[in-house]
Amino acid sequence: MDKFNVPDGSNADLTVLDSEDISPYDAAYPVVLLADGMKKRLAQAETAAERVYRAVVKQAPEIAQLQQSMRKGYRLVVDASESTLKAIEQGKIKLTAENGKTYAQLLDAKGRYSTKLPIKKEVFAKGIDPVQIANAMQMKAFQDQIETITEQISVIDHSVREVIQGQQNDRIGLYYSGVALYVEAQNVTDGDMQQALMAQSLRALSEATFQLLLTMKTDIQYLTDREYETVRGKRAELIGSRISNINQSFAFIHQATLLHAAIYCNQGELPAMLTVLEEYSRFIEGTVAKNAPLLAQCDVSDNGTENGIWKSRAKLQLDVAEIAKQLRNPEKTMYLGIVEVNE
């Protein structure tokens, strides 16, 4: 596809598609790229979980085989008495990372965690950053929520892609500028230049989002204030034209936000990705959900029911607040179950 052609919108199944299979100018690209990025992060979390399992459970000398301890990886040694360590077998370990240091906390009979026991990190060959592991483990713990977020986004993405066909204006141009810069950044070999292009791409997407957001709010205000009433004989036509603008703005806000989040996700910046999704969720709640009944009545393609276009868009409440809070928290915590190893 010629990169300056406006995409025609793909109806392909997103679960099958890979971001490398479709053109960056295709309407389905942002959601596919985001789904792809999330899949990669979850795969990394899976690997991290395996590494933690091997490193902590199998290589801890008190509860696993000693011959494992000299393999590549690292060993976590808890500074505690043997009697305390035996208690681990009955309950759970809570590993806490704070200010770059790792601590262990034990669950007592009353269900409370003990004081923090410092853990020494003994690196044999290649170290593992406990904060990174904790992030990966949290990502794994939130897998269901992340998958739900992707599913929720996919539901409204289809209706959005239908709107995008053949739409053009200067704000939409900013979105395509962001896409173009991202594509270029991916093909640049120089690291600094790549970072600069990536930053410009994010900036263009952010500007596109906010300009379209303001346009959309102005159009909604026009309908709320019934300004169309003053033009006799052309009220329906004016409502139709405003609704068409609102649909267009929403579609590109959705696309720009998803691409923004996808870029962060593919760069491993998960808290930033969640911030973008949080913002999007706030926009849905404050602008779309609040005005959904009005928009449903003005949009001739909406049937006004709960499954109608605007009410289903209003339902997109991405539950990212808890994940974002956990990932931003300087104190990283992971919970490990104790497994008997009989090798």
Partner: protein, 100 residues
Amino acid sequence: MGTVKGCINENCIARQKKTCYKKTDEFCSKCGNKLSYVCADCFKQLPDDSQKYCITCAAKRKDTKDTVKNAVGKIGGGVFAVGGIVLSAGKVVADVIRKK
């Protein structure tokens, strides 16, 4: 205001035929679905019974009224003009007859 209740089940024949129910009716007699207030023109679901038509249909109705008013105004103007001409012509004819 004569608000209209209707079935919002897409697969129900009552919706396809745009069957209107009374305000006191609660459920669809065809599919048993709970009835909702709908636009009397396009049958779009409305949030409450405060309006008979959705915003778009209400605007279309007002536009139609305006168009009719304009047309009537134009026709009325035309009739007055023709009436005036007929009247002045009649006066001329009457004067001519009187002179004879």
